[in-house]
Symmetry: C2
Subunit: 400 residues, 2 copies
Amino acid sequence: MRHGLSFGGSPVKGESLSSSRPEGGGQSLLRLINSVAVLSALRESSPATLSNLASRTGLSRPTVEAAMDDLVEQGWATEQRAGAEGRVGRPARRYAFRADSGYVLGFDVGAHRVLGVLADLNGRTVHTSETQVDPQLDADSRVAVLRTVAGRCLAGGGVERARLMAVAIGCPGIIAPDGTVTVSTVIPGWVDLPLARRLSRSFACPVLVDNDANLAALAERSHGVARDVDELIYLLIGRRIGAGLILGGNVHRGFGGAAGEIGLLDPPRWERVRELLLGPATTESISDRDHQVTQDLLEGARAGESEALSIVDDFCAVLARHAVAMTLTVDPEMIVIGGGLASAGDLLLPRLREHVDRVCIRPPRLATSTVGEEAVVLGAVQLALRAADESLRHGVATRA
Amino acid sequence: MRHGLSFGGSPVKGESLSSSRPEGGGQSLLRLINSVAVLSALRESSPATLSNLASRTGLSRPTVEAAMDDLVEQGWATEQRAGAEGRVGRPARRYAFRADSGYVLGFDVGAHRVLGVLADLNGRTVHTSETQVDPQLDADSRVAVLRTVAGRCLAGGGVERARLMAVAIGCPGIIAPDGTVTVSTVIPGWVDLPLARRLSRSFACPVLVDNDANLAALAERSHGVARDVDELIYLLIGRRIGAGLILGGNVHRGFGGAAGEIGLLDPPRWERVRELLLGPATTESISDRDHQVTQDLLEGARAGESEALSIVDDFCAVLARHAVAMTLTVDPEMIVIGGGLASAGDLLLPRLREHVDRVCIRPPRLATSTVGEEAVVLGAVQLALRAADESLRHGVATRA
């Protein structure tokens, strides 16, 4: 179904086609470029008629028709029978993008669990599989669990492994651009693990690894309170404060993957403040959502109990210190507070607002996360979908 | 020489061509796409033979030849007479990008002066003009000075205004995405000035306005110590500390243009520390380079005088606080210290190094600026060149 032949994209990109270009390649190349343009337009607005697509791409109708014939033959699109729409004459041919023409896998690998989601190219969840693990499990065994969860997702969804277009994994720690974990204090044996390379043995498609807060930010932008916010900071509150940054609509990872490690600013009193509010430290970064200590304390603060209020105030002062430093640096449109306190926006946001407004010249909107505990795995699916889109744009010619 | 007709780029971009597409536009469109690809390849590596360009673009040689004929006719390229290169047979035709096929203007508008540079499309300075102004000059008069400086640059370079492809202006303050100054404490009457819109009456090409630190960062990346660094923080030391951020190779301005306003973290003692080292406050953001007080103090510190060392230590502690907050947020590859202390790297960098290494998990490289006092105007030229490149990519069809 898929060939190894790689297609390098538009001619502006350079030399990638020169070696594999067939004789008379000029014409063939242009047909491919047109197919990519038409598929891209169809992906953004499906179903569509030939006229819609011609208008969206600026291509002529016969050119679009030829491209659509190719795309249907290659399995990327399907022709729909048009219903009677009350118009005179032959109904217009309509085409739909086939969301089942490919799949992606997203994972959340934490200390306590490995969660996997199989999704189609529209991001619809096809199958979910979760396995609880011992926080002390060594890295090799944890990778083996990940492989098992992947297999269960594929089997559960009835999808062949060869149809995967991208795999993305979120985990705590700093991930180098090549998908190697360089810093991790949460998962045993995780440091220096070339996770992307290790997993590329199990998958023929691109394998991406990213920091959990980065992916939670991506999920918040796709499904949550920060929908379509292009300049976003997601503050993930766990044992420390970490952040995921979306800048210009994309995850910003920094030179060595260490962007958002704002928790290193945590003042000495942070651990005590955190523990008072969130209960004893765990090794999980997103957790404790319904922890009773926390709920009691938040209720106390809402009821005006002075000790509870003082804890909430102290906690917010630390959060604000981090939010301010990041706001002055990147000027986000919005800051989202994620982790175990998403339900306490009524207490947190006004306090944060006051601190941030006092210092920042252009203060961002503030909100608590609405995505919940599956933020990391849903963000992983989003990251994998972006990689699949990239393949679609550059790789429409790789199917026969 | 130039028509108003706008060309919308690749077919992937969408509908921009549908209204202006001539009959039989499919073929014409493809020819334009090829011209853009060939011009882009020529711009990156000029001069080049048809074979070079065919290899770089992945297009066939006849296609490249047709595109080059168009580009020469339109004035973007010139055919060079090939010298004897010791090879048998007819010498290969070579083409060069015409750097004089367009020009850009860059400006540094400060409290004390307006500096303008006219440059060709290779970024070579063609003419420079500078006018000293009263720091209290009102905004209208200052804009008038800018127009005069622009006229002098064009006259001095013998370049018609119509050949300008982009104009960029750097000034202190926060600049909204539409080129309006929203915050400025340095230039009288500058706040709420729609500078880009005001100047668009004087220029037919795009007019961009940006913060001075952003442009200094861009210059440092083009000409200075941060050459080709894609993740860069440029700390501009003036009355406060401001920063320009390059992320992913581009200036990061943030949602409202307020990225890098890290000076709002300045501790209460900053003004005193700054004044001890840099002398009395001026309203200029980059200045005081050769201020005698500063030089004496730096010499004192180098000679081990304890009072001078203490001032330098205090100053570096404040700088480090800002550098750390920004590093933890965006994880830059390099931080450059610019402003009046570029010659004091021997004193500043080891002290900063110590602070930054103590906190940051992946510490950046540290350096002092090597571009000097023309950083802002040279950065403005770079920004204008980027806009011109964008026009080249999307607008090659606009000449007849």
